[in-house]
Symmetry: C2
DNA sequence: AGTTAAATTCAACAGCTGTTGAAAATCAAG
DNA sequence: CTTGATTTTCAACAGCTGTTGAATTTAACT
């Protein structure tokens, strides 16, 4: 049963609605009834398909997580194929950020909502971080390995803190909160992902070299 | 009526409890009854003192906002007094980050909770950002002015994006989520603010110079 | 068409939510 | 102590919450 060119099933509509609402208001700021209403579906259907409310949230998170991981893995491998086996810091940072930039510039609004959802989970202090650890950290460790090779004199501690800063800048950008629009009085736009990521690459690259370089 | 060396009033206990719980679970993840229970106070007292639930949240946010602004303003002025009128990028970044580092390393746990609360608001996509704009952006603009002088060839757009990256790295650090502990398998600690901010300064400084330097 | 399973809705539940008006307690001042 | 104001509690409200079991519709297959 091909699902291309086909209106999304009710099950998928529930995840679409959950994706948007959870990203905007967080886990506790959304009710199953709001999700059902936006998906034009009965309240009980979410429980039937996914179980408890937390399972709805997890299903929303898991639906696209593997796709992002695959894109980022391919991005790193392709960079290694074209640039040789020893990558520069800029190569690694570029490989890490470009897939996210492409997703957020995508016409499909689902990916924008999903990126904001991941940002919400990443900056959440409670149970959400366990989801991040299980689903994203294995891939992040591949990038950490590449960084260790590009910066052989750096301590693991410094490398992790540098990734932490990258993660923070990336998270706030993915969250797409509109803060920069206000602060810059309209000169910058939260959804100008072209500029956001193109400038983030040299920023993070030189930051890492400053902290971890020889 | 002096309030030093005096056990905190019930009104203050409510704000202390709200500070901790809102920082941990977000606005919708906390009920007035939970706040009242932690403050060992009746439910209705929060409404009596502050009004609606949103007013409790705003009061929690406003209680310490001006103190942070004053500290940061003094920090910038002191840097200008000692370093002369033309500050380096590193001076400005240092003046911006050091007060927060001091607050989070403070023995008073209230400030740690408050820093996490500010991080929550800053990465929230909804009404919270208005609070940030009104209470923090005036001070941030003073720092932006200093940065414009230190980087005269940078466009305002690039400068704002650089501050955005700084803000992201800072927000994730203030949030103190424990993510870095997991990813680094115990090598780094979210609450090692000494290392966190000492490394953030060169990271952000060189990032800004790379994007906005000549 | 008939049968079986899956998908979807309906109806209802016990429990919790923010909020408020009245009662009670505490405090300040004469 | 009496008075009046402020603070704190009590009790209750209407409305919303997640969840579930039964009923109904839709789909799949013979």
């Amino acid at each position: 049963m091909p699902d291309s060119e086909q209106s999304p099933s009710k099950k998928e509509r529930i995840l679409d609605a959950a994706e948007e609402l959870f990203a905007l208001h967080g886990y506790d700021g959304v009710t199953l009834r709001q999700i059902a209403q936006q998906a034009e579906v009965d309240v009980a259907l979410a429980s039937y398909h996914f179980g408890k409310k937390r399972d709805v949230f997890e299903a929303t998170f898991l639906r696209r997580a593997q796709i992002i991981n695959d894109l980022r893995l391919k991005s790193l491998q392709q960079m290694q194929a074209t640039q040789g086996d020893s990558l520069s810091v800029e190569d690694i940072v570029t490989a890490f950020l470009k897939p996210i930039q492409a997703l957020q510039m995508n016409a499909n609004p689902g990916w924008q909502n999903y990126c904001a959802l991941v940002a919400y989970i990443n900056s959440s202090a409670v149970w959400g971080k366990e989801l991040m650890h299980r689903n994203f950290d294995p891939l992040v460790n591949r990038y950490m390995t590449a960084l260790r090779q590009a910066l052989p004199n750096a301590t693991p501690e410094k490398l992790h803190w540098c990734y932490h800063y990258l993660s923070g800048a990336l998270t706030l950008t993915m969250a797409n909160t509109g803060r920069i629009d206000r602060l810059s009085e309209g000169r910058c736009h939260s959804d100008d992902f072209q500029t956001a990521y193109d400038l983030m690459i040299p920023f993070v690259t030189q930051g890492m070299l400053a902290v971890c370089g020889d």
